[in-house]
Amino acid sequence: MTKWYRDNAPITADRLADELMRLKRGSVTRRHFLGVTGLGLATAVLARQPGLFNSTAFAEELGTQMSIATWPNYHDPATFEAFTAATGVAVEVNVFGSNEEMLAKLQAGGTGWDLFVPTNYTISTYVKLGLIDELDMAKLPKYDASTENPRFTNEGIVDGKTYAVPKNWGTTGIAVNSSKIKTPVASWKDFFEVAMTEADGRTMVHDYQLTTIGNALVSLGFSFNSVKPEELAKAEELLIKVKPHLYAINSDYQPAMRATDAWMTMCWTNDGAQLNRDMPEIKFVLGKDGGEIWSDFYAIPNSAANKAAGYALLNYLMAPENAVKEHIANGAPTTDSRVMKLLPAEVTSNKIVYPDEAALTPLEFGAAVTLTDPGRAELMARFKAA
């Protein structure tokens, strides 16, 4: 709700005011104003609310509304607008901070999502709990398994059945504002040391058990996915020692990094690329001692109210010409060689997005056990309460 509102605001307050003044001065047309501010779209969405205004529903088989659950700063808003323009289906976007939260909502039921974006390590659990169905590949003609990198697609396939198809892959590294922090940060060990010294009061960790506990484990020389009580105890000791020095425990770190309230944070590839694009002094580094490599997937909840629209949007997003815009906007690397060919050279040569293979070697994919392990959940609660 809270982040949803902020992340989905089609326009910032400042820009809205600017555009309004431009409209009043007559330097832009009303049409431009409605377009850039999203007010036109908002009106269009409202107009389609059944019962609110009695418009005849067109594109009946797809309905007029669908809903997607995804991550902050993860899509090009123009993608959804174009989809709406093409199909008449308005897309409601819900943003989440962790896979655990998405799973919790689906377990509780009644989400109304027609499409969502789970991370690799959660898919086997969704299948086990019967929360997602096998995808009907006949409805996804734009998806081509042969052009996908199997390293990133295999966790979407459970017992030979495809339950999810990849959106993009990425890593969890460290974003450092190099104009504020002079100590070199090259590993998770460095991250926690600098957090207590030069970046005291200026460091953020995720509000997310997988990465916060995982990276603490890595800094101590253990596996990112460990659930061994004695290793978790050491990680807890470190996290509780670091906590008084932290700026915040929050997975939405872009606003604080951009305002330079925070100088260093745990950071996903796509956010690292976006931050570095707008503020070159913010560097993105991968821990040489390890960390996470991941891929995010699209899946359709079996409780989806409008599966037809879910498939339609998924198929739309799988088309390389649409996917390429998503990748340029969001900054995460693609799993699809067809998209790779369409990406501009400045994206494919960006070492944040496509690091050297050697930098990826120490990284680990998250393991399914971390999602449901009560030990990690309780550790996170003790860390936050400390």
């Binding site: 809270t2 902020r6 509000d207 425990i249 009560p374 309460a385 400390a386």
Partner: protein, 288 residues
Amino acid sequence: MRAAMNTKRNLVTAALVAPAAAWLTVFLVLPFIAMLVFAFGERAPEGGYQVAFTFAQFANLPTRAAAFWNTLLLAPTGALLCLIVAYPVAYYLAVKANPRYRLILVSLVVVPFWTSLLVRTYAWMYILGSRGIPNLLSMIGIEDVRMLNTPGAVLLGIVYGYLPLMIMPIYVSLERLDRRLLEASADLGAKPVSTFFGVTLPLSLPGVMTGVALVTILLLGEYLIPQLLGGGKVFFIGNALVDLFLQSRNWPFGSAIAVTLVAVVVVVLMVAMRIAWRVAGTRQVDLV
């Protein structure tokens, strides 16, 4: 004849009570029963609830002691700070303000409620963030002040958010104050200060108690302000509940904490009411 009238009266009563009763049954009583059942159950291996009968969840309560303690400390502190700020405002509005402008001034107290607390709390994030007040301070040479994501920011947000809830009951009790009592006190030679402490303050105590109870109870369940202004580092029982349901999906333990919290609220409320009644009762006897 008489029986018919009674029946009619009963029907009217039933009709008046029915909507609220139905609402409370569906949205309060039934969920509370579900929560009680969950609290004695077990977390399923993948999260959620599975049927069991165990006291394990309640035995596990000490692991959230820090969150309970933070909440039990914050709620009265926040209420007290609200009171300190609210009383002079309410006093001015009820006693000193020009009656012609009183209505306008009172509505100004309520105006912030026209905007959602969420939006107003976000505004504080920017005011307290380094581009806000700390930036202004650095212009006059006070460098590196951190305000956002501190316990102080949480308290500020709380006082800001709950202030109108404290002002209004105090204002109402002061407005009802019989001015002749103040004149009598002055006639009998009391100085304004002793009139205030001997007459005004005691007579406004029921309003003070109502305000304190109202703010304290709401604060016991506060989640949003610590999350936004405390940077997720200031952890209250409301935050513990959110994490248990939305992160670790431990419904039974979350239910046990929620049930305990409700019990704590009931106890706090009863104690507060008792004190309020006693104070109000004795004062009235004294004065009459």
